[in-house]
Amino acid sequence: MEYAIVFLPLLGSIISGFFGKRLGAKSCQILTSSFVSISAILSFFIFYDVLTQDYSSNKLIFNWINSGSFHVNWSINIDPLTSVMLVVVSFISSIIHFYSIGYMDDDPHKARFMAYLSLFTFAMLTLVTADNFLQLYFGWEGVGLCSYLLIGFWYKKPSANAAAIKAFIVNRVGDFGFAIGIFLIFFFYGTVNYDEVFQQTPLLLQKEIIFIGIEFNLITLICLLLFMGAMGKSAQILLHTWLPDAMEGPTPVSALIHAATMVTAGVFLVVRCSPIFEYSQVALNVVTAVGMTTAFFAATVALVQTDIKKIVAYSTCSQLGYMFFAAGVGAYHVAIFHLFTHAFFKALLFLGSGCVIHSFNNEQDIRSMGGVWKKIPFTYVLMIIGTLALTGFPFLSGYYSKDAIIEFAYLRGSTIGYLAATVGIFTALLTAIYSWRLIFKTFHGKYNNKENNLSSIHESPLTMLIPSCLLAIGAILIGILFKEMFIGYDSSQFWSSSILFLQSIQYDHPPIWLLVITPTVVIVTIPIAYYLFVANEKILKNFVLKNQVLYNFLVNKWYFDELYNFIFVEPLKKIGLFFWRKGDINTIDRYGPDGLSRLVKIISDKAVHFQSGYLYHYAFAMLIGFSILLTYLILY
């Protein structure tokens, strides 16, 4: 069963990739979708077994690398954490597969698209089923590759190609840290298998090492390096710049890879490594700090973006921040719960945005939309559900997970916990504002599109709406359904074999005001947002005019791209050119081979003069030579 879950998508990908032309697009779509669906159904069985019978297994496929004491296997490891991820990945993936059939209807490369999607699913599944860091790394880079291929899927667009490369390279920067983390682990633990590493961690707590001239605690350093990889993959601040650009890819890709699954791999990594992270308070604080900064930063940027997908992308970035600070305050299970609910409502939002874009004939700018909610009621409802769930409207899925994060941060009782809770509440407010801005600008107010007639706006085909519907149902219900299991009183039982909680989780009731504050904020924001964005837009316009600097700062995404361009991209090009022109050509070649040949030429040019052909020249030279010889003999 495990084999089928992991390898069916791969099989589908290979078949549709290599024989796509022969089979035809339709059969490729059906084939890949059904393979992934089978894998999803089997994942549910596994999940059920894990839930009811504490099922766990570790299946060895074969040896991968076997060099001296460095042993790594290909294997499929099932534990509670993996089973949850299996469900998220394969279920969302199968929905996206079906959705893509409708969305990519007029694309000439359907088979290739499906092959990439399935390949991605395979890579993601190997990532979550790994029992060692190296297979994790394989899946990690594998999903990065698929993300690269899918962002650049429309290869004729230069912006898509640039975004694809950027995504891969920024991730590589994170992976650089990740890889060094793995080297460190192997160096000190002598193994890269989870079990052995986790067991040995308590023995290495006091170890200090000097790393690039700075003294670190070993465990802290390992955690920070692993977290660097997580920051790249999960688009946390500093390494986040690729995610908004990644929206160049087709929308189903954004939903699957850049919202529901791949970007959450970083959170998964931190949770998976909880038996290491738990021993380093410093690292946990860093995780919390980075998480809450990202949550806040991305939410502020989302406030002013005008591209519908970019807004949702920044929102993803922000929600990932929530997950990280949940993990940072030790509430790993809440982080995973938010990952779980987020996968549904964020994928829903993307699919909904996809429907909107489809309806508007590939328009993505929300300034050119508006007033169409009556024309596309179905899409409208989907988006409303997604938004309600995202903002944490009571009793929808996001409410349970997000409020839990804030509560657990508060209950942690540390300074950073309180700080995180505060930022969490404030960001929830921002989230509500930008989400409702999106809704109101897109569906309400005046119709602003000049290229398409209002009458041409149409509802999306059923192949797109039905999968979105499934997600909508999920976005509404899974919070209530799975709350007890994920974060309830008995949940630590469920997680015990995959997550380590050093401090037992407190289930004290947080003060009532804390329980009430977020939902209240969220609900109150709706009418305010309506007033600001639809009823009376002038107030905001005046505000923007008065605070032009702040506005530009946000519109330009805190100037990260410009900064990186200035610090890294341009200097690297210049250095490269310098090394080549000045180093290779003007120094090594000039004084090396060319210099040598020039020297030979100069000497031979000079030497030529000796052979003048005049007898008296030769006689004179002989005379001089003879007298020197004579002098020498006389003197010594």
Partner: protein
Amino acid sequence: MNFPILSAIIFIPLIGALFILVTKGEHKNIVRSSKYVAIFSSLANFFLTIFLWYSFDTSTSEFQFVEERNWMEGFINFQLGIDGISILFILLTTFIAPICIFSGIHSIKFKLKEFLIAILVMETLMLGVFCSLDLVLFYLFFEGGLIPMFLIIGIWGGPKRVYSAFKFFLFTLLGSVLMLIAIISIYWITGTTDVMKLLDIRIPQEYQYLLWLAFFSSFAVKLPMWPFHTWLPDAHVEAPTAGSVILAAILLKMAGYGFMRFSLGLFPVASDYFTPLIFTLSVIAIIYTSLVALMQDDMKKLIAYSSVAHMGFVTIGIFSLTKQGLEGSIIQMMSHGLISAALFLCVGVVYDRLHSRMISSYGGLVNIMPKYAFVFMIFVLAALGLPGTSGFVGEFLVLVGAFQINIFVAVLASLGVILSAVYMLWLYKRVIFGKVASSEIKEMADLNKTEIYIFASLVFLTIFFGIYPEPLFNTIDISVSNLIDDYKTDLNFYLTQINN
């Protein structure tokens, strides 16, 4: 084992070359029969080496299939033998040679007969390098390779071929003269050039440093290490595709092999002493050449520079003297042999069609040549060390090994992993993606049958060894352990000597 299988492997290509040389008749017939002879002899040789691998005993570190013939009494013996390390290089050579021959037949338009002779002679010489167990014999094969390569670049090369051939010759000759002197002094010191004996003899410490430097000068040029690398881009640019393939896939590996077999085996004290030098040069090579590669506008130059960076990993691995480091470098050399060969073939494919190596002449190839785009993508990914390709296994193990010796070196070298992604993906984007750049590109045909077969074999091996490198590890395991043990005991011996 009485059948002299190693001699057979070495001389089959030469015999093939002789056959081609003596064929007479109409020009057309000559060309056709020389094609067949070349293909047949190189393929036969490949299958013979597969058989060799099959009958190779992986449970011992002793040299196997040893052959000994007197050549000059008491001085040089014609002595051959292989261990787990050399057999992989032999396999690589006999695998790459037929590919070069196919590629040459495909794209060489004049003097094909002579070209095939050059390739076959080259194959003999390269195989000789990896089989010989006598220093002088090694030297002859090692430097003999210069001549056919010089001709391949000088005759079938591009417009600036003479300058490149000359630069290539000058650099390598400088190194080899020093190595020759070193070999003579070794004979003078120890009275033998027999490698098996030399590995047991401890060369006095005071001689080791100079001897090591002399060998180093030869290997560092061939590998090439920074700053002796500038001949390589020029040579690649001007060489015909098959020449580039041989150069990148095998010629460079002879130096890595030399470092392992001779520098470590014969001069442990000096190797230990000069390790910081090697590490420094390698790290510079990785970062420096990666940055230079970034700015190239010529595809072949870009790949050539990336080769230098990749070979930087090899030297780091070798001199880390850890199991992972050494095995990693061997795997890295094997995989670089496959990947760089494939990348140069990829350039060759479009060069044959458009006669330009400039990146700017291309763009949007994926629209016209989807199969080519796919193959190219695989090798770009392998070159940037994506897990699941053989490039990853080698690079990663080297870094694991290096990390145990010097964290700083490993971290700096890891930066190369980011940079390789930058220049390879950028190259790919400019050549393959985007809109069709010109009307000439529209006329380009996708891969033909021969090309597909060649690439399919390379793709298969690259991915196979990326996922299941076990056969390689099994082969080298004992020999590498033995190499490290010998080195460590020798080093200890010398160190205690100093202390006393």
